[in-house]
Amino acid sequence: MMNTWLTDIIRTTNEALFNEADLTRIMTYYASMPARLKLSEELERLEPTLVKSLQTELSKRYPDRSLYSRRFIQDIVESLRCVNRAVLADDLRLLRYRWIDHVLDVATAANIDLQEIRDAYLSLREILQSSLPRSAWETLEPAYEELLDALTRSPKTLTV
């Protein structure tokens, strides 16, 4: 099983009782869980409509790009599940391990321009910003920006 900051604390604490600093961090995380769960609900609710919305948007903006097949768009939308899981765990390492590393490997192997993938995520960001309640978007935003940021860097830089 993959570790998060919380499992790291549990293993580091070992046979001692949790200390005050760790308990404060854990309690702060717990206090943010209702917002994270709400975001998760919203993303699940939106997912069926996002593929169609994104397909419409991409074909309007980039009519000549062959990369934007229905399957590709489906993968982009479904990658929100990995983003959601990282937000729920409050650990962006999950996003890195479960999606970012994978998408960078695939892009390198298939010689896909990362900017085209990033453009799809930028379009999806606009759709999400207009579809999600503001508080849900604010909960999602740091992880989403991490994803966009990773797509501006070269795979070699990221795997060092």
Partner: protein
């Protein structure tokens, strides 16, 4: 609890049941935090009183194990802490992965008897119940009973190294605990 569900869930998004489990746990975290602090204040007392009762019932143990009572005191303190952390987290799978199975192997290796362990953890639960508030003990109890049950399930050694067992009038209520 939360970690386990988020990392182990196979569904694309959390299922209603997983979400309900998280929400149910979150509704108890303030009480769990308070119980953890109560254990922190009382762990020394719980362990000392438990070891005193073990010493009375098994007066010869030190003949077989150098510093046996002191090591028992150290181990029970560690087990109390780990159990309190498991209570705070609302799950003991992580505790078992990290500690319980490994520790049971040690108990077998030093030729302790299941009876000694049942007596010891019975005393431990008695003293924990006596030292903690009703609410805190109710939160600790399922995890403490789990640990006790796990650690007492060892075979009878071919030759035990615990010495005489002296029944005492203020005997524990091990029979009333679920292990």
């Amino acid at each position: 609890m939360i970690c386990k569900i988020i990392l182990q869930s196979k569904a694309p998004y959390l299922t209603p049941q997983e979400r309900a489990e998280i929400e149910s746990y979150l509704s108890t975290v303030k009480a769990r935090r308070a119980a953890l602090e109560e254990v922190r204040r009382n762990v020394g007392k719980i362990v000392e009183r438990t070891v005193a009762r073990i010493r009375t019932m098994y007066p010869q143990m030190a003949r077989f194990h150098q510093n046996g009572y002191e090591k028992t005191q150290r181990d029970l303190g560690m087990i109390t802490n780990l159990t309190a952390n498991a209570m705070f987290l609302g799950e003991h799978e992580t505790l078992d992965e990290m500690f319980t199975e490994w520790f049971r192997t040690i108990m077998k290796a030093v030729h302790l008897t299941p009876q000694l362990l049942k007596d010891s953890y019975g005393f431990w639960l008695d003293e924990m119940k006596a030292a903690l508030s009703e609410e805190s003990f109710a939160l600790m109890r399922p995890h403490a009973e789990h640990v006790a049950d796990y650690l007492t399930r060892i075979p009878v050694p071919a030759r035990d190294e615990v010495g005489e067992r002296v029944p005492v009038s203020s005997s524990h209520g091990a029979e009333s605990w679920k292990f």
